[in-house]
Symmetry: D2
Subunit: 211 residues, 4 copies
């Protein structure tokens, strides 16, 4: 790769545009006094080091990077309730400024580690000085609890390279269980909260919470 900056720029542009689009969608729900299935949105572009390391590890020819590596551009969308995630999935399918290429439901089918999330790969068009370019981006959808757990697992996984000492493995599982229980408790109270949020936003300003 001659010029990594020029290679990565379209991915950075895609991440910036997608963040603005999903954050805007959240504001759209709130403006219309509806519960937003999107709580917050973050994004990142894979680092050069990480791309190189993956190329080496998986023996990918450099000219195939762009088809093969689907997560150079990554967006993560956090939701309050598990059901919200499926609402966002549907919103993504229904818009024609991005095309869903692939999706995997690690919520209904959690990974053996306890990892839960919904993954989508989309195709998205950016406009360069030299014209348009289609790129792939990965969208991960999670509740706040799933994200909390995944952050912990990610730190540990990196250190132990997936082979956890038994004590840690046990604690990680009980944390996963606690995160799952919090999602379950939230689901029980979902209808009341959503109803209250509608009520709440109608009078917004009146009692606005810190945000």
């Amino acid at each position: 790769m001659q010029n990594w900056d020029a290679f990565l720029w379209p991915y950075e542009q895609a991440v910036d545009e997608l963040k603005v689009k999903f954050r805007g969608l959240r504001d759209g729900f709130i403006t219309e006094d509806r519960h937003s299935p999107i709580e917050f949105v973050v994004g990142r572009v894979k680092t050069i080091e990480s791309i190189k390391e993956k190329l080496d590890r998986r023996v990918i020819a450099p000219e195939l990077i762009e088809q093969d590596m689907q997560d150079i551009a990554g967006i993560r969308i956090m939701s309050q309730f598990v059901d919200d995630i499926y609402d966002v999935v549907e919103l993504i399918h229904n818009r024609n400024d991005m095309t869903v290429i692939e999706e995997r439901d690690y919520i209904r089918n959690a990974k053996p580690s306890g990892y839960r999330s919904y993954h989508m790969v989309i195709e998205y068009k950016v406009f360069l000085p030299t014209g348009e370019k289609k790129i792939l981006a990965e969208i991960q959808l999670r509740t706040l609890s799933m994200n909390f757990w995944a952050t912990v697992e990610h730190s540990l996984n990196y250190k132990y390279n997936g082979e956890f000492p038994e004590k840690i493995s046990a604690r990680l599982k009980s944390t996963a269980e606690a995160a799952f229980q919090l999602d379950e408790a939230m689901s029980q109270i979902k209808d009341e909260v959503q109803e209250a949020q509608r009520f709440f936003h109608k009078d917004k300003g009146q009692n606005k919470d810190i945000e």
Copy 2:
């Protein structure tokens, strides 16, 4: 109040400066390859409607607003672990660009509702076109679980004005319990995660997570 915009501007300025300062502190820990006790930071200025409503409700004379209403400027700091909160409290005490006026520990002494958070009131100096002005700001410190629960309670509280039907009250309590259990599980695994994060950041770039 003649000019609410001019009244609120110093508070908006304080919130903007405090957000930059605490977010910067987080980056400082990460740059030094240390676990950051700050996960993310949000802030808001109370709305005019909310200030007026509180003035009416608590019979505060308008000229006493600024001494009496300590949360016109509000900052909320979220942490991964309960122990992190006390580290941030100490960092705030140790810096001389803000002065702690008051603090309440609703973590060790949770409210009857189940609400947990650490509250501080600080004095902070902003520089106006006409010179300096000292203002009060409230800082709320919470884990991600505490925040998750508080958001739910806030929505419901607003609708039911604190007098919950029994069914809702029970569900809210079991959600508070699930949130508390998640914090407990996290505390069990804290040392391993913090150790792993140090390890992780040393090689950062290598395997950078979405953020």
Copy 3:
């Protein structure tokens, strides 16, 4: 109009997306070591008061606002050289995520007041919680000198409602003349600067200017 916030939200969303797209385009040129025809980009949504005042003044039926008022969403793109503006105009015509509806060249045909700018009206699609919506946005393209003058004229115009005392009118014209002369002088030196910028960015980092 029942709900102005909900009415204005799609325009705010369009402005946010267009700012990210044009700022990104600027970064694209710089990343490819080329002179960027875009220096900086700002945007705004017309205020409710301003929309109402225009409805009254021009006797527009409220249901026709969206077709009739083409500048509810406004983007302004500033360029270093006059020639850059025409390069940006072409880039806008060449991309298919926005459609040019109308354009006026007040650079080749300055207004009698001395006002110079290139105006385009585009159609742009935003995705709401309820589905997609096409909206109009105005793009104003200017050099930094044109913008400098226009800011001054805008302030004065507002006060005098377009009917300037003779002394002010004379000074405004001599300022317009000075702004035009600066653009002319810049055009003389354009090729050298563009060549130097290519050279400059090749070694960027080496001597990076404040920005």
Copy 4:
């Protein structure tokens, strides 16, 4: 230097805080319906390459970088009128969250090249995870015309290393002259514009310009 990221972080933090402070000051003037002497504010931290290059060129011992290199953190403040610059200089002297260490007036005493700007070096305190640290930052104050010219000169200077071919040198001087004339013309109309801005902001919203 072992860890450049950790070395540069306090400077990045200072730049972020100073940008928020000066941008906030601008909003403060506007909120109080007064002409703002600050038009816009940018900032940057010197790149590692640029610091290294300067260390080599000026034979500075690495342990003396921080005292010797006063522009690692750089802030640039742009004003509409020449007089505004001196108002900002006074505001900076009057606030006690930064201390002026040195200042040079290249407006009254332009450099032979035609360069005009007001330079200040300040001492500013940032709070690290390990405690407070005083750092130096350079503030450059300019009108929009001065900045326009300086950008051009900077590009050319970098290519020709200060030794311009005669043709270019002549054009650069005539551009400097045009920039100076625009500032002069602006000064003639200053009182009317400032008066109009006061008038303008009183009714703001009514006719808000793109910004």
